[in-house]
Subunit: 254 residues, 4 copies
Amino acid sequence: MYNRRIRNHPKVSYGHWAVNWTGVLTMERYEPFLLINFKTYLEATGKRAVELSKQIEKVGENAGVKVGVAPQFCDLEKVAASVGIPVFAQHIDSVTPGASTGHVLAESVKAAGADGTLINHSEKALLLIDIDRAVQLAKQTGLRSVVCAGTARMAAAVALSEPDMVAIEPPELIGSGRAVSKENPEIVTESVKRVRRVNRTVAILCGAGISNGDDVYAALKLGTDGVLVASGIVKATNPKEVLASFCEAVLRAA
Amino acid sequence: MYNRRIRNHPKVSYGHWAVNWTGVLTMERYEPFLLINFKTYLEATGKRAVELSKQIEKVGENAGVKVGVAPQFCDLEKVAASVGIPVFAQHIDSVTPGASTGHVLAESVKAAGADGTLINHSEKALLLIDIDRAVQLAKQTGLRSVVCAGTARMAAAVALSEPDMVAIEPPELIGSGRAVSKENPEIVTESVKRVRRVNRTVAILCGAGISNGDDVYAALKLGTDGVLVASGIVKATNPKEVLASFCEAVLRAA
Amino acid sequence: MYNRRIRNHPKVSYGHWAVNWTGVLTMERYEPFLLINFKTYLEATGKRAVELSKQIEKVGENAGVKVGVAPQFCDLEKVAASVGIPVFAQHIDSVTPGASTGHVLAESVKAAGADGTLINHSEKALLLIDIDRAVQLAKQTGLRSVVCAGTARMAAAVALSEPDMVAIEPPELIGSGRAVSKENPEIVTESVKRVRRVNRTVAILCGAGISNGDDVYAALKLGTDGVLVASGIVKATNPKEVLASFCEAVLRAA
Amino acid sequence: MYNRRIRNHPKVSYGHWAVNWTGVLTMERYEPFLLINFKTYLEATGKRAVELSKQIEKVGENAGVKVGVAPQFCDLEKVAASVGIPVFAQHIDSVTPGASTGHVLAESVKAAGADGTLINHSEKALLLIDIDRAVQLAKQTGLRSVVCAGTARMAAAVALSEPDMVAIEPPELIGSGRAVSKENPEIVTESVKRVRRVNRTVAILCGAGISNGDDVYAALKLGTDGVLVASGIVKATNPKEVLASFCEAVLRAA
């Protein structure tokens, strides 16, 4: 079933069950994924969201590494129209079509061309009930979901909703420049362990403070399937260069 | 100062101070304004938001009545690029550029081409402090603000933040098909009275349950400067026809 | 460890590990528990909270069935001083001592004599992160925790925080008079199954619409360890009589 | 009408209309009021809330200065039973009796013996609509209301709901030890000016950073009717001494 969902989303395929050369069905590791969250940085607002996305796509293509972007709502459509890499919204509300002025409807995000959405980022924390609803709405609408969690226990909790990806981000390290994969590797390994106990197929990202290739390398070696990064790329003097070092680290970790 | 702000927004001019033929500076009535809120209705999502906006523009032009639309965030840019009438966001968050994943930044809405924004719609009610911040952010970003309020007292309270427009919408009548201007004219006149006591220049809209020309006529006769309407137009079998009847009522009330 | 915590709370002992007559350590069923939530009903506010609690204690004693009450914050101390049965707060905030005006501090609830607290009742739904924090704060303060969840998936998610009890309450049935254990027995069995997969020792209550002995009997037979009930008792013409029928059902189900 | 409400609350009388010796009805200044907010400080939780309240009462009595306390919900009843000074809740929810688990009902606070309640403290900020509802609920229940506001504009906005008192507290100075009355006297005078434009009878407190007698003196000289203070008293090494200096400043300012 998971596989089928992937097939429906040709642009994004983070992992899969596969029959290996001995004829056995095995779970293969997901292809590492670097997801860049544009937050509400002016450096990644409006036209600059498109420019940055194009740069990110090019660096990823050159390195042969899977990259994606998460621009603001108003920029989703033009970014999705300008690049071929996965484009994520930063949030959807757990509302269905109707009288919900000012809310972010899954169908609207999908119609704009988004491939998926972040859910429960620590800067847009949700009620437990709304996390689950948002994941289900994403599924029904054909959007991939990346649910954020600040602790290992919470990562396992959100993995129960069966999103496509879980992203571990200790809030205290977000934007700190101190990478979770180096400052607090235990939370990453503990998260992987706890998530895997309840969900064997969800992809696992980690984030917070990721700012250079070594941070990315460390993250992958801890058993994650990629990183969620924001200021480390968006606020960098030279985003392309930093992203290139991230990609190099992905290849090194392979 | 108010006038100057209007000059900076050629597309939207709801009212003005003017020197009349006797040479006296007077406050003239605002040109009536019909603002159509698309909420998260599928009938007004994605491409249908553009189509509906074009229809609305055409009906307004034919009648010579000022109309505007408030589509979802993801649709703002393409709607703004397709029509010449005022385009409003349905909400902005009281955040400044930076680490605010999933929030709606005034600059982003502005960059998408919006002329203004709703604030504090009853379906997206805000903290008092955030209402004021959002109005100031709108001003700084060059967005017009329409702040909603459910009672006469609240209408006066939000008028103190000096938005461009205040919209009275008793929540219990929203989407009811029973027009505030007929079901509860007292709340409208009371709102106008209380708002005017603290703010002489803010334009005053009313909304909730407005579904035909008579409702619009009644609203204007109660001293408002226009109406905020959603399902009455968006969910109508024939939105153009209903809007035409609204426009006819505006002209009749003049 | 669980056992030890129980020993520290002599008034409340919902279940335990025990060495049976063959010398094997086994998990025994929790003694069924009927927890009555007073909500903000006037029938259970102020002095009436004390009177009702005394009646509840007496009925429970007479029947030999474990009962507990969850009065409002202002009534916790006098209720706890008047009865010997477990007394729960209806909510605690995930705040530590300090500058949190208007919040409900775990230490304050504990100092008032409460034995535990509800967390994440659907009428006071919490952010995922705050549910986990509140459970940990309860543990640190020596309060037992009953975390509510509206779906089977959410029940498992909150069970990961290792509260003392999980309460399944489909919001749509709360206050409906239609008992979850009869209207939707599948959600109860599914919850029990999913919770047990991730947590073997948490006690499981169910609630929503429970209004007579048969509803209680059905709930216990579905594998729960008790019920959470509010209007079924508090708004009953004769609360003692209804509770007596609940107790009778508990004994019948044993 | 205001006067009548005061008569109904013999313990609290912040000001009044009075016929002076020439027979003219005049508005007299309110008797200065020092309101001590206990927040969730452990120093003022449980029994220590009662002890501190008694000390505060004694210092106020000795100096002949009106003082009041705002303990946590669970402590309201025993504090109200132990002292004769005004006792305020720190918050009420805008709910009526019924199915509102975990909420703070005005009737419950009143039944516990409270004289009034804070509303919209910056640490428990409310939706605009809920501020107004809470003030009306307080009136209906016979509770005095002190509505907090962080800016001059917001102070005027909440004054429109006609609470008994408005408290100006710039959030950035709360707990800072830098008194609003000295760091930012303009916000106080501006607030007084704006509040008086829309409400002539509401009492005006100010707060944030108040920590010694001079701060209190400055606050009163700026036209306020008292101060709202928390850590300045509760976290002081010698609360009685600090409060005595506050009282001395009140008398000096008279």
